[in-house]
Symmetry: none
DNA sequence: GATGAATGAGAATTCATTCAT
DNA sequence: AATGAATGAATTCTCATTCAT
């Protein structure tokens, strides 16, 4: 009746790959049709490019279908490489999956850490954070990764651990610092908030889930929501 | 050439079934009509029992492995029935999955609607709600279902729709009413909260996710967290 | 793409059965609702009726799908009995199949033997035979049986043997006698025809096949064809 | 939890393949391009060879058991390939079946069209045709195909259509032309025979059926039979 | 290094047959 | 005797993984 997870794509996959180079490198790719390698951007670079293409393709497929339902055949097609090539770079499906998630998580971590670096009041910092988050994570591929981890975390404890260690605990630590700073500055009244930085993050997480699951049918003004939430934390603002 | 007489009937089937049943069904060995063993109700009851056992087993397996990675063979084993029996009750794997989720969701819905029914201040109601939620959902099989939907929602849009329709929108509507009542009563100052009942729910959702993913390594005092969150919403309480 | 042999009938089956009684006995069946058997048309008769219903249903199914693709479930449904009942009358699927074909063959045999009994010239006899054959066999259920034997004969040698013994050799023997009579009477000139009675039968067999396979798209005037064939055997007729 | 390293490769695959291939493919070990063993053609050739082996094996199995009762496992074994390989060449069992029949039919068609090409009287042509037919079709694999179509035609209408279009209607058209030529030449007296070329073919068809079903127990001198039939059509010959 | 044809373990689904009611 | 729920062997089809080219 429903036939989910069966989408025989089979095409449109090679679109963004065409040998998997276009996305990342518009580098020195002048020409290379008939001959073998008229312009070889040295072996290592080529390999790295392929690897990146596989990771990118895998990310799309895994977020769309989950680990078990993803076919390496499709990943290969999307990456513009042969199936066997995947095994040149990754031990097996699981290794690809784990590495891919780890790789995708790094920018998320970076992002998390840099935003607050900018100055201003804590409220201002969090407001900027909220905007950045909604723009760059919720409803984007980045958000899909978060949802992917929620989905597969139980089956891949090491992944959940990694996520916890690298993203969650760091993010919460940073958030805690910020909260403490806000308390210090008198911006935040409730001192116990520092014990549960999750509270500050929670609506953002809900936004991610919402966009992924219900966004299509019931769009959510995530920025507005996060601002109301900040009002709760900092006390209502006079001027909007 | 012609295969005949193959079925090796063996009555060890009901042996391991108790394991599969006990977890969910509190039906237990209460009565017995026609006689024979301790618990052999009539045909229809037996069928219903088996069906329930399959659903219970399926729930365990699906929440543990996700849709694609669950083997009906395992579900059957856990339910103490033969593989074919599943197909007597459900058209295919997907039908089982969907029905199972829907079935599991109903008590959740009921729960959600009854708790606030009790009287008292809005703060008291929400506090009671938080306690109930933490006890009955977060970290329990119920929570697993929620996480299951988060995980498979994208692949089973009709499920996500169902969940949205039956649980999310109803729950949010109830929550909104409660918030409006709180605003009316002067308990809640920020009127815009009524626009985003998700904010009130958010930490609870995060608690569910947390317990499922990180609970083992980094336990979270969910009740305490939810109380701090209520403090943000209602203003700090003087006496705890 | 094609999906043959999958027709999930599932209904319309119980029509001609309604407990399998109506067909044969309108006997003393006054009433028999609540009690066990207020008016038992004796056990044996009931059993025979059921058996007949199963055979009739089996014939339909087997001719439509072939042996392997026929489901006993469908046979039971069409016969208006439970699946298990089939096993009360037949050892297994194969036994049902074989007996059913044998049963169905008997009238064919009878038919074959009686027609020529009538008097007249050999030409007249064969013309009558042709008409009867086209009307009662080609394009009817009887013809389906013949085609069924052609189809499954290789897999059921005992069936092919039975068919050969009971139908083919008898039929050919009868036909040979007729030919010899025709030669004697001077109606048939080619004496060697008696060595190959198959020749006389051949166009009739082709008609059976044709109707079953191509009849829908390319109808064949079988009677006309058979008459032309008789013209070859007897020499052209003056008056048509 | 994760299954890894399961494929127990064993190179005994090609061992029993010879058996499966030799029967049908007269391709044999003729040449060898790149070297290595006795018969290792290039990729494409290997693929074509495998495909041919599958078709040959399928033909044997399908004619022996019919569509439904044939196991792809057996086809694979007979072809000397792995089960999965079949799916590299054919979408599913049905696709294999249909293509196989079509493929097998082509030579039949060719045959049909070339034989009459030779000159001589119509009687001579048909006599030659009869001999060729008996030798190359009746009682051979070719004949099995015809019987296979008779058997499965009802369940695969598109096959029956194909057979009708490509073999039957062409064959009949050719036969009709021949008959008309015979009438023109005065060899055939009954002009209406041109309306039913089936009559000329009929004994040949019966011969095919006969050899397949009863040939073992009751051999039939098909050539003699067809000659007697020709005597009917052309009038008896003086000298045999 | 790349490729993709080939492999075969594995999982879903079907259906003849049995047997408790 | 009749029923039809339950069983599990058998079969199709998929896809991760390997390896000859």
């Amino acid at each position: 009746m429903m036939k989910a997870a069966k989408t025989k794509r089979r095409n449109a996959a090679t679109a963004n790959s065409a040998k998997g180079r276009s996305a990342t490198s518009t580098v020195g790719a002048t020409s290379s049709q008939t001959g073998r390698v008229a312009n070889p951007p040295n072996r290592a670079a080529r390999a790295a490019q392929r690897r990146a293409a596989i990771i990118a393709a895998g990310l799309d497929e895994f977020t769309a279908r989950g680990f078990a339902a993803t076919r390496l055949d499709d990943v290969a097609k999307r990456a513009g490489v042969a199936k066997g090539t995947i095994y040149l770079h990754f031990k097996d499906k699981e290794a690809l999956f784990q590495e891919l998630v780890r790789t995708a998580l790094v920018p998320l971590i970076g992002n998390l850490m840099t935003v607050p670096a900018a100055g201003g009041s804590v409220r201002e910092i969090l407001e900027r954070f909220a905007e950045t988050f909604v723009r760059d994570v919720a409803g984007t591929k980045r958000g899909d990764i978060v949802r992917l981890i929620m989905a597969e975390g139980t089956r891949f404890p090491s992944l959940a651990d990694f996520y916890f260690r690298e993203v969650v605990s760091r993010g919460l630590a940073g958030m805690r610092k910020l909260i403490e700073y806000g308390i210090e500055r008198g911006e935040i009244r409730n001192a116990r908030l520092a014990d549960f930085p999750q509270i500050v993050i929670a609506p953002a997480m809900v936004a991610v889930m919402w966009q992924g699951l219900f966004g299509r049918h019931a769009p959510l003004d995530a920025v507005a929501m996060l601002k109301v939430h900040l009002d709760l934390i900092f006390g209502e603002r006079r001027a909007s």
